[in-house]
Symmetry: C2
Subunit: 269 residues, 2 copies
Amino acid sequence: MTVMHPFDAAIDLTHIAPGQTLGRTDPQWANMVGPFGGITAATLLRAIEHHPDRQGQPLAMTVNFLAPLSDGEFVIRTRTPRTNRTNQHWLAELSQRDTTMTTASAVFARRRDAWSTTEVCPPVVLNPDDVAPGLIAESLPWVHHYDMRFVTGPMPTNEQEAQASSTTTLWIRHRQHRPLDFAALTALCDVFYPRVYLRLGQFVPAGTISLTVYVHADEHDLAVTGDGFVLATARAQRFSHGYFDQTAQIWNRAGTLLATTHQIVYYKT
Amino acid sequence: MTVMHPFDAAIDLTHIAPGQTLGRTDPQWANMVGPFGGITAATLLRAIEHHPDRQGQPLAMTVNFLAPLSDGEFVIRTRTPRTNRTNQHWLAELSQRDTTMTTASAVFARRRDAWSTTEVCPPVVLNPDDVAPGLIAESLPWVHHYDMRFVTGPMPTNEQEAQASSTTTLWIRHRQHRPLDFAALTALCDVFYPRVYLRLGQFVPAGTISLTVYVHADEHDLAVTGDGFVLATARAQRFSHGYFDQTAQIWNRAGTLLATTHQIVYYKT
């Protein structure tokens, strides 16, 4: 008997009809309200990855969180309104009891030989072995699946720890080692706690409304990354009357930019 | 008789059924192939703005360009799978002859009193009056609707003008003055020519696949901006085997960050 990795168990889906799969929330990956958004995003990506019509690899995905999932089963419906020569467009909808809870659009693509370069640089940081492990909040089940090493901007515990910059940078990998794939990379794009906590030094109600992931990594980049730590860095640009944006990068230890990712988050103060 | 502003004429829609509107491509706003993507994005936003069920103002929008529009009519279908207390989720699909050409998701929201701040700074630049007008390419109809003043990173005309940075910063406003609204701000998010041109100093086939806009401006910010110049700045992070990302900011002259915007673009070399 093979025991599935907890990440794979959480995003596991059962085919029920053409373009329809059945999944189930996993209490191990629960967040404050509903599951960790990264797991939901990864599950939607997986539903498309496993569709028999899928061509190419993930390039872009936007996930809109309409409402927190309830514990239990959900159905994901996927369809591909357009297949071009080198890219394919997907739409997905996750529902519970016929109510839409999450929607997504995605682009899958074939990469080609082309002039390539990375223009931005990774933050200069200590090695993960030289950084103490840290957690976002002990009480959140999902955070225990990751080994997090905060280089800057750990979760503040009081107002004295409020920072003038919303930047958090951390090394992260699955606590139970697992090679990085596109689904796991997608989940990593949502591992940052809300930037408003860091600016205010306190917890306030906040949640991601829409998440966009741009995948720069190809399968070679993922293979090089393996199950090693990746460096994740995020910051906000503007906090405006109840909504802020977050922009982030995910790097591997070889200095390859695996993904850039953005989200818009609501908050109350 | 009132003559419509060319921007309003281009995004004008006719109600044909609940959640269905009819539009028509405008040759004045043509790009290389099909219309300027910013006009298509603005038209999709307008279809939602004018829907009788719409609540609140635009907060986030992702537009996926499946295929270039043909000249002529199109139909936009909009639906709102979820209305929450302070935000509302929308899905839109633009089709021609029953073929989906463009899809979009959007979030509209009501802004609230909340702690607010802008963490990033605008680029330090000359005033627009001190910068010479420039164009992206004379042959593109849509560019003539804007007054563009390139501060850095104008369109290169040969390989000697290739740059080590993909950053373009420009002042821009409608050539025929028009107060900024959410639709016009959305269009401005797509005014940058492909970053790969600037790195290579040459034109190569390239096009936006997916565009995301986060609106930070409220109606007060728009009113302050009026019909004045805004400062738009964009750069790429990674060019990877045929696809690069672009991340950008739109500021007004008062130093207010109106929008942050991201896109993924295909290119061939």
